[in-house]
Amino acid sequence: MTLTGTFVFAGPPTTVWTLLQDPAVLAKALPGTKTLTKTADDRFEGVMTVSIGPVTAAEFSVSVTLKDQAPPTYLAMLIDGKGGVGFVRGSASVDLSVAAGGGTKMAYSSDVQVGGRIAAVGQRLIESVAKMMMRQALDALNVELQARVKAGA
């Protein structure tokens, strides 16, 4: 499954970059995150629950390894999620640039393999669920960003 898109944050790339590195912020933003810890400079680990169609409240242990970091413009990551109902494995990348009308433009793309029951019975819905989760996460990050920008201003 590939997922690509763009999003415009109402704040500067450096602040967006900081948010993307903050497990507490990410945990709040990513729907279904139960725990998220930064276990190394380039590594996050945590537990998420996801519901996709008939597969409800499926728990995944997730690890994300960051690589090729070029603050505050580029970041790639390896994603590895495992659970009783399947797995998600793949890579993603994030490009940050100054947006035309101010703020930060994020271009993201990910390519993940999905397997097990979530692939077998949730296939029809995975992409829309993933898009929805992404949208919710980005919106939540943007809210947090605006709060920080305001607090900093």
């Binding site: 009783g84 397997g115 097990g116 077998a120 296939q123």
Partner: protein, 780 residues
């Protein structure tokens, strides 16, 4: 004398039990102290199995045991090869069968990795989620052609390639025929199949009686006796210590003949260790992985013809997906190879196939068993040739049919039963003429189709021929017993999955013994009732077990007449047996009932003479040298919406010839069910795997089965060309409905879309696939 029941539409003996819920299915078996089993299955199609951590699962309250391959010790042997390859010279067959639980490597999504035994299925399922399986993934082998490239990952690394089998069969000299040809049609065809989707999934219940040292297994298998024999051997028990009961089973369709499924091996093994009865019932999602299925073939085929449409020869090279293991040998591709010849006189034939290992579930026969692939190729080639040569579709077929004087017809190649492919009998031309007549072929082409086309409606007609190799060996047996009550009991080794064995076998015996069909009680699929046999497959139950029942019943009849002759003092040849009574025609002697004769057959003291065998009972076996070949023609009329590619089936007609008919009602039932299967295969069902062999539609939400509204009323006409291979002249009919359905569907849709100029070379279609083909064609 009442008329014989054979040939009449007798209502089914078993329906009262089935319809009132009194029939026993495996999941109905409830035993005191019974534990429940669930399986941990690989969610990765291909990978090294690094470890299976069962600690958390074992600690869960209610869990009794969790087993991995390491716990099985010497029991962890690969399963048997069920069908040895026919002795085709030069064939290659790399047998690789699966372990009961995967060790070191997993080869398909759904392969069993661990077995959980718990107080309830709920607990067992929760514990399955507790098991941590560590798999290091390898790229999956999915595509058949990619699988054969030198850099492809190997499903079985001990082999040099992913080739499971390679077979070449030849008849005549194709190359010479090609040189003489006026036209050579060459195309590539894809034909994919699907799951059997029996309404009842697999289930196993096991009870080990440690005091009696007897193991009882209730199993949804189509082959109870071979299961009994195999498990006894694997478990170190006498065959007589193991009883396998295949009670009523809600549909077999092939996959339930697979031996041995891991679950079938593991439950008895664990029950003997735990001293508790065990139950496992497959859920629908498991069924998509853990039960065998049938899948894709890619054919590069060519047909050489003279300009008058005579087939001079056929050349076919094909790949066949066998999945991760190949326990069923070459049956499917050999069936495709043989059935391609169809009802036609094809003097020169060269066919080469390569069976390929992939990281997908195991492939074994599903109703049709490769036959539809072969029929699709030859029928499509004929359609294309007819167009190119400007010959009518029905006419080109007529010109190539084997004539009635060409039987027995030796095709000079080897069939799945290790016997040469010899058609026993057939009368193909009248079958085709009758089908063309009943569907109104000429009138449709001349009047109906042009009239509707003028109205902008896209209607089309398809008409194709097929043969079905049925009723193969090795053998079946039956024991017929007349009880003192006068009731008759028949026991046979085949299992029953809804075909109507309780009726057709009863009819055969009832006629031989002059009793009513409902007075004959048939017992199938219980190894304690009958000790010898093979199973229900290849449309052979009625042919092979039916012939055995007939032989046993005729022997009982002779015994009854001999006993009656002694009792009445009248020579046996002057006696008549009917209405459950032996009488002397033309005399006022009231005769003697079969029940009374059964009593006499159990002699009291002083009535025994040397050599006396008690009982009005006889056992007989029937083992044909080779199968008998049924045949038929399917025709259909469709209307296609060229915008949405929706296909409406207006009429569906089957004219078939399964030799002598025992019960036309049941024959029609078999055909109706088969056509429904075939329609699903042609236009609805498709197993979708991604590039890592993840099955993406493992539920009935996404895997479409045709429903009642998708299956039209099916018109049938019977023809009877008896088989000379058995006394009753029988041929099988179990798969006839689904074999040519893809081919007739393609032709009808093509005909409906004549203005688009479509050429359909693949099955399954679907509305969206058909739409894509229409769009591709319009753009080109």
């Amino acid at each position: 004398m009442p008329p014989p029941s054979v040939g009449r539409p007798v209502l089914r003996n078993e329906d009262a039990r089935l319809l009132t819920g009194r029939a026993l299915f495996v999941d109905d078996v409830q035993l005191p102290g019974m534990l429940h089993v669930a399986f941990v299955r690989s969610i990765v199609a291909h990978g090294h199995l690094k470890g299976v951590d069962v600690t958390a699962a074992c600690a869960r309250p209610g869990v009794v045991a969790v087993y991995t391959a390491d716990d099985l010790g010497a029991y962890a042997t690969p399963g048997p090869v069920l069908v040895n390859p026919p002795p085709v010279p030069g064939h290659v067959f790399n047998a690789r069968t699966q372990l009961p639980l995967a060790r070191d490597k997993v080869r398909y999504v759904g392969e069993a990795v661990a077995m959980v035994v718990a107080e309830s299925r709920y607990v067992a399922e929760d514990a399955v989620a507790d098991v941590v399986v560590d798999i290091d993934p390898i790229d999956a082998v999915v595509d058949l052609e990619a699988a054969l490239r030198p850099d492809a990952p190997l499903v079985h690394p001990d082999l040099a390639s992913n080739v499971a089998a390679h077979v070449v069969q030849r008849k005549g000299h194709y190359a010479q025929a090609r040189e003489r040809a006026d036209v050579v049609i060459k195309r590539r065809f894809h034909y994919d199949r699907g799951v059997a989707a029996a309404i009842e999934n697999r289930a196993v219940v096991v009870e080990w009686d440690a005091r009696a040292e007897e193991l009882t297994i209730w199993d949804t298998t189509q082959a109870p006796i071979p299961i009994r024999n195999g498990l006894a051997s694997m478990l170190g028990l006498l065959e007589s210590q193991v009883r396998v009961v295949a009670p009523f089973v809600g549909g077999g369709f092939g996959p339930k003949i697979m031996m041995f499924y891991p679950e079938e091996r593991l439950l008895p093994w664990a029950a003997m260790r735990l001293h508790r009865p065990l139950k496992w019932t497959e859920d629908r999602q498991e069924n998509f992985y853990a039960t065998t299925q049938e899948r894709g073939q890619v054919h590069d085929a060519e047909m050489a013809l003279s300009k008058d449409g005579r087939i001079l020869g056929v050349h076919d090279v094909f790949l066949c997906d066998t999945g991760a293991y190949d326990p069923y040998g070459l049956t499917i591709p050999i069936n495709s190879q043989c059935t391609l010849l169809g009802p036609y006189d094809i003097p020169n034939y060269e066919s080469e196939f390569t069976s390929v290992f992939t990281n997908k579930p195991i492939v074994t026969p599903v109703r049709g068993a490769g036959r539809q692939h072969g029929v699709f190729v030859s029928e499509r080639l004929l359609d294309i040739a007819a167009k190119q040569l400007g010959i009518d579709r029905v006419e080109i077929r007529k010109r190539n049919l084997l004539g009635p004087d060409q039987f027995p017809h030796n095709h000079e190649i080897m069939f799945q039963d290790s016997a040469p492919l010899v058609y026993d009998s057939g009368n193909y031309l009248p079958t085709l003429e009758q089908a063309a007549d009943l569907i109104g072929y000429d009138a449709f082409r001349r009047d109906e189709q042009p009239r509707l086309r003028k109205q902008g409606r896209h209607v089309g007609l398809g008409i194709v021929c097929y043969v079905e190799g049925t009723g193969i060996g090795p053998y079946e047996g039956a024991r017929v017993t007349v009880e003192p009550s006068g009731s008759v009991r028949v026991a046979t080794g085949v299992g029953t999955q809804g075909q109507g064995h309780f009726t057709v076998l009863a009819q055969i015996v009832a006629d031989a013994l002059g009793v009513e069909v409902e007075d004959v009680r048939v017992v199938t699929g219980d190894t304690r009732e009958f000790n010898w046999g093979t199973g229900t497959f290849a449309s052979r139950g009625a042919v092979v077990a039916g012939s055995a029942c007939h032989a046993a019943a005729m022997s009982v009849r002779a015994k009854a007449l001999a006993l009656a002759s002694r009792a009445l003092g009248v020579p046996a040849d002057r006696l008549q047996l009917s209405g459950g009574r032996v009488t002397v025609p033309g005399s006022n002697n009231s005769g003697v009932t079969l029940g009374e004769l059964a009593g006499k057959a159990n002699p009291l003291r002083g009535a025994v003479t040397p050599g006396t065998e008690p009982g009005l009972e006889s056992t007989a076996y029937f083992g044909p040298d080779r199968g008998s070949t049924a045949s038929g023609v399917h025709a259909m009329i469709v209307e296609v919406d060229p915008e949405t590619a929706a296909v409406e089936i207006k009429r569906y007609l089957v004219v078939h010839d399964c030799g002598a008919i025992i019960n036309p009602l049941l024959v029609e039932g078999q055909i109706h069910g088969g056509v429904a299967h075939g329609i699903g295969n042609a236009f609805y069902e498709s197993l979708v795997y991604d590039d890592q062999a993840q099955l993406l539609n493992a539920s009935f939400m996404d895997y479409l089965l045709p429903t009642a509204t998708d299956v039209p009323p099916i018109e049938t006409a019977h023809r009877e060309t008896p088989s000379p291979f058995n006394v009753l002249g029988l041929k099988g009919v179990g798969e006839a409905g689904c074999i040519p359905t893809g081919a007739v569907f393609a032709q009808a849709v093509e005909d409906a879309l004549a203005d688009v100029g479509l050429e359909i070379r693949e099955i399954p279609l679907s509305p969206n696939r058909l739409w894509e083909l229409i769009e591709e064609r319009r753009r080109s």
